[in-house]
Symmetry: C2
């Protein structure tokens, strides 16, 4: 067997095992009445800043928690702490994505039935996390205006499975000469029909729409 064939076989086995753990997670989330949202993006697209503002802005009735993955450091976990939401930091030790087993272990630190919403802040990486189902109800992919308009076409796997795309750092779009139409066109090609919101966690632009999207997700859960 060639090296690359062997790699593909091992990867298939890993992904298949990941899928079965993810299905188990999905059932647990459903039974507990929790909506899990997997957040994917490049490093520095603003996942943590978005979550900081989101945790501060959610209605008091919404009980949220965050599982946050990083290669190293607990910087993001510390940034998110103190907003009333439980935070569990995963350090992947160099692994380029979260997987379902890591999330399952992290759940030991959370009282799932007490929650409505669970954010899974993935490792900053626009490639590897896309292959790993974490049992999430929805997958949200962030694209910051600083990253360049062609990223959806250059990283199709990340965007193809998105349920929502957030164009982040919208407040500096002009300063970085963001080509909005080109970006929207790329997103429409990479992720046909996927809703797109333009947000700025700094100025609050678009945050109402994002919070509305989350609330409609929670209402969906509450319905029979």
């Amino acid at each position: 067997m060639t090296d690359s064939l062997r790699t593909i076989r091992v990867q298939e086995a890993l992904l298949s095992k990941n899928r079965s753990i993810a299905e188990r997670l999905r059932r647990r989330f459903q039974e507990a009445g929790v909506q899990a949202v997997n957040l994917l993006s490049s490093p520095g697209s603003g996942k943590t800043t978005l979550l900081e503002r989101t945790l501060s802005s959610l209605s008091r009735n919404t009980r949220a928690a965050v599982i946050v993955g990083d290669l190293a450091t607990d910087n993001d976990g510390r940034r998110l702490a103190g907003k009333g939401a439980p935070i569990v930091q995963i350090q992947t030790g160099g692994i380029c994505h979260l997987d379902a087993a890591m999330v399952e272990r992290a759940l030991a630190g959370l009282d799932l039935p007490s929650l409505d919403l669970l954010f899974l802040e993935n490792v900053g990486n626009l490639v590897c996390p896309s292959a790993y189902d974490l049992g999430e109800a929805r997958r949200v992919v962030l694209l910051s205006v600083t990253e360049g308009e062609d990223k959806p076409l250059k990283y199709p796997s990340a965007f193809r499975k998105a349920d929502l795309v957030l164009i982040t750092k919208a407040d500096i779009a002009a300063a970085v000469e963001f080509q909005r139409e080109a970006a929207l066109e790329g997103l429409r090609r990479a992720a046909p029909g996927v809703p797109i919101l333009e947000v700025s966690a700094r100025t609050g632009q678009g945050m109402e729409a994002w919070l509305g999207w989350l609330e409609s997700l929670l209402r969906q859960e509450a319905e029979p």
Copy 2:
């Protein structure tokens, strides 16, 4: 054998094979008198824009070429074309990094002895490419001012092996409230002693220093 142990074994075998191809490449580069520079960064940190400006600014005596890796599309290859330098686009088909075998195959498209400088523009990813030696003489890691100051500590593997760090998009540092001292401190901790240049391919800031760094690399080659 557990799945994860099996994965580690296969990864070790792959990395070991990569190392031996990389050594072969390094010898070929040395024999041809070519300095290969591996460029690593997150998606959208400005590798292609930097190379566009670099190719236009290099002295006429310097014969450069670029091998550029992307998951999909030949957008970057097309952007770099028409500047007098041969460009070879690699589409990795979803693989999250370049490896030495891909570079070796791409060399079929280049007349190595006619070159002085070969840029290897890696897939935009701050995790996976760091493990793969491409036979390069130098590794340059880009960190854009939009990515956040703590990236060097959060992605230590990428920065640890850098020979030079370029802080890119310096012209918009103020607009994105870039915390310069925190970023420099993080870099000093993640990559002690590594030189750091602050550049903007848009305004030209720092380009002279970057071109000077490249020229000193070429002079080093020319010496016995």
